[in-house]
């Protein structure tokens, strides 16, 4: 990189010099550098570098090293090693192929797992000085909120929203503090926006609201491609967009167009487009496409961060905050439900369990550990498979090596030769692994919803690790034969009786490893099956409501809702329309409740507000709803779970609670009721699974109204065969009434399926891993059997002379491996059932992992084993005894 900045990537250049024949290097390198020079002027440095790398790899073929042996006259010894190595490789083509394919797939899988783990484990670590950044959490009731409430709740002024930040900044150990709310969070509304500029209208999602832009920039620095932090965050009503959005809105040539300073109209408010920033990396705990900097954040709380000065500690600050908390939140300590403010280091956010309103799904540590372990096992398997196969390959080379010794080779020459061969063979995989990963990473990203940059492959550290693993594999596989043959006496190498009997010496070790592979295969197959079973189970589980044929979408207020409801009910295919209460939600805040006249207070209630329409659309069984039909405006009901809990305390039947008094938030002192809010229970409704099936039945405290006084979402059940036409009709009606928000609907069924997205993903990933394990194990088996068959030729010949049939010999071969499969199944049985039940712990409603699944997987493995063994051993079993016995 010294001097000129216009050099192609150095490693690729070095690689080129390494493999290209000496007499060709000047012209080839010259041409590639010239091409790179012109390309970087025409299409930019980055593209040119990429093409250069591609070109270098295209030269990696016999043509470029063709003259190697002719041109390189130095070290004739080494040359001979290479020649012999190549000849040996060609001599045992199928063996080498099995060996290399196994090694390539295995290493590629392990690298992929490595990339994934790295992506997950370095969450938020791209933020500079991340170890000094913390986020505040509030412990309230039994839940930990990841956001901090503003001091005067929802409709506070911007200057009051920053009270907490001002307190933080007043401490000497705090460098700065900021807060924000992304719209696609549970407290951010999740809205879609129409953005109008210059008569054009764009759709935008994922906005981040902040009123402390400069501090936000200090804590989470973003690279400005146009404008500057000062221009974007000084003064309010300014919008900053990411490059992605800039390209969407203004085309890929947005930089040539004068877009800064434009007026943007969003929901009838005017904003100034003040900056363009680089896209936000994927592995950070927040996500946004654009930023609105305005005086008041439109939410009731904010995600609050502070950055410490170097060497400052968070604990004393937190202690002081909890002491002074009443200054920031008047009356905080009087509310006994407040249990104190906590802080979490930035890099730990992605791993902090059981919090409320987290911005992104947190990492599932069980999965990460599983992937890590499976990766390690696969690595172990490929290493041993490769070593096994290599040892087998060397076994009948002793005459060649004896000859070398006769010609004067020393022990260390022999050892060196064998080592070089082994390493060389392993290095063949390098380009293949890179190629496979390059193709697979985009698919993997799509599956896991992550964004691993595939150019990471070409980073120095990845290449180094890859080369390191391959060299290690080569050394490990070559070491034993190298030392064993090197130290053999000359006569020993020629002598028939003194053959190194690798077959027996490694018998137990090799069998143990093969069994371990079978265990992995059977275990992974069973786990894949269990995951699939569980996913099928939750998809078919009765949720207590109907999920088919239902769409839902946002609506702005009760006025518009009523208008649209009337319009939609005119359509013949619409069966029911309701407001609010769309089920299939992740957990949200809970409340306390008790019965009047009892002492026991529960804290696990969730409140629901439904309309009669929603109840009808979902088909929830509700006897008390008759009251609404008869003209009552509002009823108050409990679900079965809540009713049973309360009835038990009172010592009565759940149905006896009807017309008793229910108290919610009993610790809240007020003028009307004294303590809490008193309500008369009008009925009990059946349990319906409002939340994911990961949670047990929750206590639902439900208010049902016949006509909503407020509405934010609308739920529509239709009976139609032509969804497209129906949705078009609904959209037409919607657009007559709502012009500010785009019509954005979703099916309830999809929403419920999305609750188990992570589980589905891990199911797919397990499938992939079992496939790789299966391929590896079968390849290892095929190699070993074919080697054993080869070295047992004479024994087989004698057996045949003594009257054994082909079938007998095949049975003989199969017996050993079938026992191993059986043993593997027995070991896999408890292990995979244990792991499956661990995984199932995440679900309140779960299947029972059945042992026959493992037996089935074992049986499938057995069939494959017999198949592979028979194919490989058939050749040896069919040989005519005369052919094999006449030699020597």
């Amino acid at each position: 990189m010294k001097g000129s900045t216009n050099q192609p990537p150095r490693w690729a250049n070095k690689f080129l010099i390494w493999f290209v024949a000496e007499d060709l290097i000047e012209e080839i390198q010259g041409d590639l550098h010239e091409a790179h020079f012109h390309r970087s002027q025409e299409i930019g440095r980055l593209q040119a570098d990429r093409l250069f790398i591609a070109d270098v790899f295209r030269f990696f073929k016999p043509y470029a090293f063709e003259k190697y042996s002719r041109a390189k006259q130095f070290l004739p010894m080494f040359n001979n090693y290479f020649k012999i190595a190549f000849r040996n490789i060609l001599h045992r083509k199928s063996f080498t192929a099995i060996n290399l394919v196994g090694l390539t797939f295995g290493i590629a899988t392990v690298m992929l797992i490595g990339f994934y783990l790295q992506n997950e484990l370095t969450y938020d670590q791209s933020t500079p000085e991340y170890d000094r950044i913390h986020r505040l959490h509030n412990h309230y009731r039994d839940q930990v909120y990841t956001c901090m409430q503003f001091s005067k709740y929802f409709d506070t002024e911007g200057k009051d929203q920053v009270n907490l930040l001002n307190w933080l900044k007043g401490n000497e150990e705090v460098e700065t503090a900021c807060h924000f709310v992304p719209s696609n969070s549970q407290i951010g509304g999740g809205d879609k926006y129409y953005v109008e500029t210059d008569g054009e209208q764009f759709l935008a999602e994922k906005v981040l609201y902040t009123n402390t832009g400069m501090d936000f920039q200090t804590v989470f620095p973003k690279q400005f491609l146009a404008g500057s932090p000062e221009s974007a965050f000084t003064g309010f009503d300014k919008v900053t967009i990411t490059e992605k959005l800039a390209k969407q809105w203004f085309g890929s040539d947005w930089q040539t167009r004068d877009i800064l300073g434009r007026n943007l109209t969003i929901r009838d408010e005017n904003y100034e487009l003040a900056g363009v920033i680089a896209n936000i990396p994927d592995n950070v705990h927040y996500e946004f496409d654009w930023i609105i900097h305005q005086e008041t954040i439109p939410s009731w709380a904010g995600y609050t961060y502070f950055k410490l000065k170097p060497n400052a500690l968070a604990e004393p600050l937190l202690a002081r905050l909890n002491q002074d908390v009443n200054k920031v939140y008047p009356g905080y300590t009087e509310d006994i439900l407040n249990k104190g403010i906590l802080s979490v280091p930035l890099a730990d956010i992605h791993f902090t369990n059981d919090t409320l309103y987290e911005l992104k799904p947190i990492a599932n540590q069980a999965y990460l550990t599983t992937f890590g372990i499976v990766g390690l096992i696969i690595l172990l398997i490929i290493l041993t498979n490769y070593t096994n196969l290599s040892i087998a390959m060397y076994a009948d080379r002793q005459k060649e090596l004896g000859m070398r010794k006769v010609m004067g080779a020393r022990s260390k020459d022999i050892s060196l030769q064998l080592l070089i061969e082994a390493i060389l063979l392993a290095m063949f995989c390098l380009p293949l692994v890179v190629l496979i990963l390059y193709e697979v990473i985009p698919h993997f990203n799509e599956l896991m919803q992550i964004n691993i940059d595939r150019n990471l492959l070409f980073s120095g550290s990845s290449i180094l690790i890859l080369i390191g693993v391959l060299v290690l594999t080569g050394i490990l596989s070559g070491l034993y034969p190298a030392l064993a043959y090197g130290s053999r006496s000359m006569l020993g190498l020629f002598g028939k009786s003194k053959k190194i009997n690798l077959n027996h010496r490694h018998y137990n070790f090799r069998n143990a490893l093969l069994t371990a592979q079978f265990i992995l295969v059977i275990g992974l197959l069973s786990l894949t099956f269990f995951i699939q079973q569980q996913i099928d189970f939750i998809s078919n589980k009765d949720l207590g409501y109907q999920k088919d044929g239902i769409v839902y979408f946002e609506i702005d207020g009760a006025e518009k809702y009523k208008e649209l409801e009337n319009a939609l009910l005119q359509l013949p295919e619409i069966e029911a329309v309701g407001a609010n209460g769309v089920p299939g939600s992740v957990m949200y805040n809970q409340m306390t409740y008790k019965m009047k006249g009892t002492d026991v207070t529960f804290s696990d209630g969730t409140q629901q507000y439904l309309t009669l329409g929603t109840v009808k659309a979902l088909g929830i069984k509700c006897d008390a709803c008759e009251l609404l039909e008869k003209g009552k405006e509002k009823i108050f009901v409990l679900n079965q779970t809540a009713a049973e809990k309360l009835a038990k305390i009172k010592g009565v039947e759940p149905k006896d609670l009807i017309n008793e008094t229910f108290i919610s938030e009993p610790e809240w002192e007020n003028e009307e009721f004294g303590y809490g809010i008193h309500q008369n229970i009008d009925g009990i409704i059946d349990d319906y699974k409002f939340f994911s099936l990961k949670y047990p039945n929750q206590s639902l405290i439900v208010e049902i109204v016949s006509k909503p006084s407020w509405a934010y979402e609308m739920i529509v059940r239709s009976n139609t065969d032509n969804w497209q036409a129906t949705m078009q009709k609904i959209e037409n009606e919607y657009e007559k009434i709502e012009t500010a928000r785009p019509f954005d609907y979703a099916f309830l069924e999809d929403r419920i399926n999305d609750l188990y997205l992570e589980e589905r993903r891990s199911g797919t990933l397990m499938k992939g891993l079992s496939l790789v394990a299966l391929i590896l194990a079968m390849m290892g088996l095929a190699g070993i059997v074919s080697y054993i068959a080869y070295s047992r030729q004479k024994e087989i010949g004698i057996r045949k002379v003594l009257g054994a049939s082909v079938g007998d010999i095949l049975v003989n071969f199969n017996k050993q491996f079938s026992y191993m499969t059986l043993l593997a199944t027995i070991i896999a049985l408890p292990t995979s059932i244990y792991l499956a039940s661990k995984w199932l712990e995440g679900f309140a409603f779960q299947i029972e992992p059945q042992f026959w699944v493992v037996l089935l997987a074992g049986f499938a493995a057995l069939i494959l084993v017999v198949f592979v063994v028979t194919i490989q051993a058939r050749w040896a079993a069919r040989q005519h005894p005369i052919d094999v016995l006449k030699v020597d």
Partner: protein, 104 residues
Amino acid sequence: MQGLGYLEETVLLLILSMDDEAYGFSVSEAYKKHAGKSISISAIHSVMSRLEKKGLIKSHMGGATAERGGRRKRIFEATAQGKEVITEIKVSRQKLWSLIADLS
């Protein structure tokens, strides 16, 4: 024995058309211009080495330029045999063409 593939023929023609300036990069650029398709430099190199083995072209090391990082070029030119072969191809093609009355 001297069968020429399509790519070999094209590259030979390009070399003939380029006087003294035919080397790997320039031929690949010329190919792009005339054939309208891009081709990798390594493909050009291996074609030229095949042609050289067949004795249809010969080469010498030419001048270096700054954009090549001071490395010299290998300049190719057609041998007498190369010119003969390409003329033969042309003549035989023309004979065939003369047998075709009208294409459309």
